[in-house]
């Protein structure tokens, strides 16, 4: 460990950390916003559900590096444009979260849906007032997986030169120098733990009604 190197490079490392943070979080947020309507559609329409969830599952099997390299061809962006990484990671987050949202809505007890219908809830108010709030625990569990796996996938983008903590790995490899690699690993783990904890905390705040939640 060369702490003098860390100290000298701290400005750049902090910058890479912020890039990593942004590249991990922004795609999950966009993915969630897209997954909500798609997951809702998937959960409602039986035949559509298997097609949509199957397609989403397939997306997830495309290697990330392939996506990073192919996207510029599709989007017409430059190969070094961080937009490629954002789009690729959004695709992954979406693939994961469509199923999560659909499962979350599926987890709402049928008795509760029936009662809501019988009281005269229309479809959209029922979705926003009853179903989504009750789907929060399942959706939050999926979100935790999505952010944590995004933190690790982002570092692969080092191979195409996008700024984030992964650059510390490639640099360490090229210079046969361990310090940047260790610093990169520690910061990635920290970031993953931080984001995971954040989602967990927000979910707890949104579900005071859960057994074991905030006691009244």
């Amino acid at each position: 460990m060369r702490f003098d190197w860390l100290y000298r490079e701290s400005g750049r490392i902090a910058e890479l950390f912020l890039w990593h943070l942004g590249l991990s979080v922004i795609p999950v947020v966009i993915g969630l916003l897209l997954a909500l309507p798609l997951g809702w559609l998937a959960q409602r329409a039986g035949f559509f559900r298997s097609t949509l969830l199957g397609a989403a599952g397939l997306l997830y099997t495309i290697p990330s590096l392939a996506l990073f390299v192919l996207l510029p061809l599709v989007l017409g962006t430059r190969i070094l444009d961080p937009m490629n990484v954002v789009v690729a990671l959004t695709v992954y987050a979406l693939a994961l979260l469509v199923r999560t949202v659909s499962d979350g809505l599926e987890s709402v007890p049928p008795d509760v849906i029936q009662a809501a219908n019988a009281m005269g809830y229309r479809r959209l108010p029922r979705l926003f007032v009853v179903e989504l709030p009750l789907a929060v625990p399942v959706i939050a569990a999926g979100l935790r997986v999505a952010v944590v796996s995004n933190v690790s996938i982002v570092s692969v983008a080092a191979l195409i030169g996008t700024p984030q903590l992964g650059l510390l790995f490639t640099q360490g490899l090229q210079l046969r120098f361990l310090t940047p690699i260790i610093a990169g690993i520690v910061l990635c783990v920290l970031l993953a733990a931080l984001l995971d904890g954040l989602v967990l905390f927000a979910a707890k705040r949104m579900t005071p009604w859960q057994p074991g939640g905030a006691e009244r």
Partner: protein
């Protein structure tokens, strides 16, 4: 008034679930749909608020056909209670209750006030107001479910096996409380149950359905016990019909002469007891003249203590049914049934021959009204 006009329901690729049902649930009365499992009770009920669409026929509310109404508007007019309450897990008890009022446009403050009032009406203390449903027992959840249905003050209510999911003791309590409530509010209610005893206990009118969703009989509980329409109904009502009909015959005040019963209190000596006794048994009361049990004069050795009392006899409250009075007689070691007033004070005793006369009078009275 809820009217079924030749209503049928066929599920896809299935035999009929409900077959040309025509009947009327009168305004302010509790109508009970009863029948074996799978006879189409739930289907019939859910066609009223169009959770299920009839295949043919019409249902009318106060003469107005439901099939042309806006479905959400229709449902908001009708209270609905189901077996497991179906409360919103993420809402507190008062928020749950207020839901129906809110849906009908009541401002939030007022809806919450209504909810707090209803909490008390259904027998829950205000300590429950801010709890979440998982913190309540099944019986308590069911009470909240009833309160929620009432919060919009609907004219009509539908209840699907509302008391089936709780243990028998709680079920009895809920039934009694619900009867009292309904006496006050007089809603037009259709309730579904598979339990004939519940139907006979609660119903103003009982609709017996048979498998295949056809109507077997519509009658008051008394009529049903006295004149089942056919073998199916008779079978479904079960044994003890003759005995159970006594549950509907009120033990009229003055109908049977009450015998004066000599009583003793705890601490009395065997000599005193022997002096007042008319036979082996002496009724023992507390200082407020409320019966405690019977003392056996023959086996008493010292002053009368708690442990000497025979507690087998049931008490019949004045004005209760002949069934209770007969039970009081049959369960009493002295053969004299104890009748008490509303606050539990001793009124007197009756013998089996007196009750038999009352039963006979009730029976001939009943036969007299037969066409």
């Amino acid at each position: 008034m809820i009217t079924f006009d030749t209503v049928s329901k066929h599920y896809r690729g299935q035999t009929v679930a409900v077959d040309k049902l025509s009947l009327t649930a009168p305004t302010g009365k509790l109508t009970i749909f009863v029948g074996p499992s799978g006879c189409g009770k739930t289907t019939s009920l859910r066609m009223v608020n169009r959770l299920i669409a009839p295949s043919s026929g019409r249902i009318l509310l106060d003469g107005e056909p439901t099939d042309t109404m806006d479905v959400a508007v229709l449902r908001r007019k009708i209270g609905y209670v189901i077996q497991n309450a179906g409360l919103f897990p993420h809402r507190t008890v008062v928020q749950n209750i207020a839901t129906t009022a809110r849906l009908n446009g009541t401002p939030k403050d007022q809806a919450l006030r209504i909810a707090h009032d209803l909490l008390e009406r259904v027998g829950l203390s205000s300590a429950f107001a801010n709890r979440y449903p998982w913190q309540l027992s099944g019986g308590q959840q069911q009470r909240v479910g009833v309160a929620r249905a009432l919060a919009s003050d609907p004219k009509f209510m539908l209840m699907d096996e509302p008391f089936s999911a709780v243990d028998p003791v709680v079920r009895g309590q809920l039934q009694d409380e619900f009867l009292r409530l309904q006496r006050d509010i007089g809603k037009t209610i259709i309730m579904v149950t598979h339990d004939i005893d519940e139907a006979l206990k609660l119903g103003d009118q009982v609709v017996v359905l048979r498998t295949g969703g056809t109507l077997a009989q519509v009658a008051t509980p008394q009529e049903l016990l006295a004149r089942p329409a056919d073998d199916f109904v008779a079978d479904f009502i079960g044994r003890d019909r003759g005995y159970r009909v006594l549950g509907f015959a009120e033990f009229a005040k003055g109908g049977v002469p009450l015998g004066a019963e000599p009583t003793a209190t705890l601490g009395a000596t065997p000599e005193t007891l022997r002096q007042i006794a008319t036979d082996r048994w002496v009724l023992v009361t507390d200082p407020l003249n409320r019966p405690l049990g019977w003392a056996d004069v023959d086996s008493l050795k010292g002053p009368l203590r708690d442990g000497d009392l025979n507690l087998s006899g049931t008490l019949a409250v004045e004005g209760s049914s002949l069934r209770h009075v007969l039970d009081a007689v049959l369960s009493s070691p002295s053969g004299r049934g104890v009748i008490v007033g509303q606050s539990g004070e001793l009124m007197g005793t009756v013998t089996l021959s007196h009750v038999a006369e009352a039963i006979e009078a009730a029976r001939t009275g009943r036969l007299g009204t037969q066409p």
